[in-house]
Amino acid sequence: MDCRMHLAQLEPTLGNLDANLAMHAEAASNAASQGADCVLFGELSLTGYFLKDQTSEVALKRGEGPLERLAELSKDISIAAGFVERGEDGQLYNAYGFWEDGELIGVHRKVHLVTYGMFEEHRDLAAGFDFDLIESKHGRFSVLTCEDAWHMQGPMLAFHAGADALLVPSASPARGVVADGDGIGSVQTWGRVLSSWALLTQTWVCHVNRVGFEDGIGFGGGTRVVDPFGQDTGLLEGLDPGVLDARIDSAALDRARVALPLRRDERAWILARELAKNAEAGGWEGKEG
């Protein structure tokens, strides 16, 4: 794997698919002309975030117009972008699609919807149930959409599945402006979380957040790439839209995995056995199936 990524930190317009699609097309075209292999956008990048009753109005079935446009653009560059998916089951999902060579090759439906504080995703969306790898010609990618990266199971499954990189799209609001805090609190916290996952899963981490405001809630930016040693190799500072141009490669993965053979020494069967015991003892009764 040796992939040049463009991470596009956008300011989407809430619920305006046409305007947002135009932003995606421009960023993809720029990335392709600059020689990037892949362009990554944030969570719900095609729609904006606090959609509420707009959720169903901007939902797209696979293959619908705007998604077909991304498929078309992916003939020149691989593209990952966020949208509201209207599934074949009629449910709406917070989806992140990956298009390559004119085809949609993978979709991650956000598993851990956020419904607390200012967030109410579960009011409008259904949760996904899988963390399938996306097998791109540029690498094996696991998508953790925002809150998915705040639970251990996603990164752990990516680790066991042998992902090369975690793609972490988000629409994370800026919170925390305390004195001596070294920047926006939420952005600093993201940095610690993502650095930990990169280090512990020995993968690259590509985090794409957004900027701009939706009714007073500002999004914190902080788009970054973290290497498998947990170090930032690129970070978009500030709160402007922009592009982070970063390279991820297999060589760093190999070095990290030789220096610290976490994958070799992982004993997944213990985890599987203990979880099975817990399930058998009824520890998960009442949880969704």
Partner: protein
């Protein structure tokens, strides 16, 4: 660290971006703001001057005949220091047309009428100036309900609504605002000698230290008392916050149909923008 101090630079940057972004979505690049001569309105217009340029900010002084002349003088110091446009509209006749005719003598009622007269002036000037009405209510007064509903609490955009009074003072110093507005005791200037802290019965510093724990950090009453806060003070403040919730929300609409405004017709103002 007192749990209250903010990074002034970061906060100002976010608020300037907030003003520009939210006004810009609706095609506005100008704002109009009432200037009381106090620290809140001074900080609001200073942020707006950074966001839109001083020439796009109109500060309006709206004295009533009993207002302290020093309030207007202090407001003028602010407009001159920032280089923003200014206007004076004396609301005495407008307010007295009702107050005298209806023989309103109650101090609070008179103050509320004056605050609502100022709101009428600002919303009218917003059309002439082609700018949004800029709010000046801080988080402390919003939580305590220390404002006039549809009066000084009325605005289109409020950059200070998530800042406690302590933090507004921090920003005022950071923005280099004149000492005239920073060093004086905050006052609604509705009658002679009035100060906010006399009227509230506690200081902003005291209540801000309590509010940040009670609201932002969700401490319980028991935990706050154990921490050293006076129990009756905690109860007084908690009671005020709950009693004034009505001021912070839109009017109550009786639900009848399947989709009702404010209940389950859910769209942001940013809808499509």
């Amino acid at each position: 660290m007192n749990g209250l101090d903010v990074s002034e630079e970061l906060t100002a940057d976010l608020l300037v971006r907030f003003l520009r972004s939210e006004a810009g979505k609706f095609g506005f690049e100008r704002v109009v703001c009432g200037l009381s001569g106090g620290v809140d309105s001074a900080v609001s217009v200073a942020l707006a001057a950074q966001a839109f340029g001083a020439e796009n900010v109109l500060g309006v002084m709206m004295p009533y005949r009993t207002s302290n002349p020093s309030s207007e003088a202090d407001a003028r110091v602010v407009t001159e220091a920032l280089g923003i446009a200014s206007r004076k509209v004396d609301i005495s006749e407008m307010a007295d047309g009702y107050l005298e005719g209806s023989e309103v003598t109650d101090q609070m009622r008179r103050g509320n009428v004056m605050a609502r007269c100022r709101m009428i002036v600002l919303y009218d000037l917003s059309v002439e100036w082609q700018g949004l009405v800029l709010g000046t209510s801080n988080k402390t007064e919003i939580l305590l309900g220390y404002s006039t509903q549809w009066g000084d609490s009325a605005s289109a955009l409020n950059p200070l609504g998530d800042l406690y009074k302590h933090q507004v003072f921090q920003l005022a110093r950071h923005l280099g605002l004149p000492s005239e507005v920073i060093d004086k005791a905050p006052s609604a200037d509705l009658f002679e000698g009035q100060t906010d802290e006399d009227e509230l019965g506690f200081t902003y510093e005291e209540v801000d230290r309590l509010l940040v724990k009670m609201i932002d950090e969700r401490w319980t009453e028991g935990e706050l008392v154990a921490e050293g806060f006076n129990e009756s003070f905690v109860r007084l403040v908690a009671g005020r916050i709950a009693a004034n919730q009505y001021k912070r929300l839109p009017p109550i609409i009786a639900k009848l149909g399947p989709r009702s405004v404010t209940h389950d017709f859910r769209y942001l103002r940013s809808w499509g923008r």
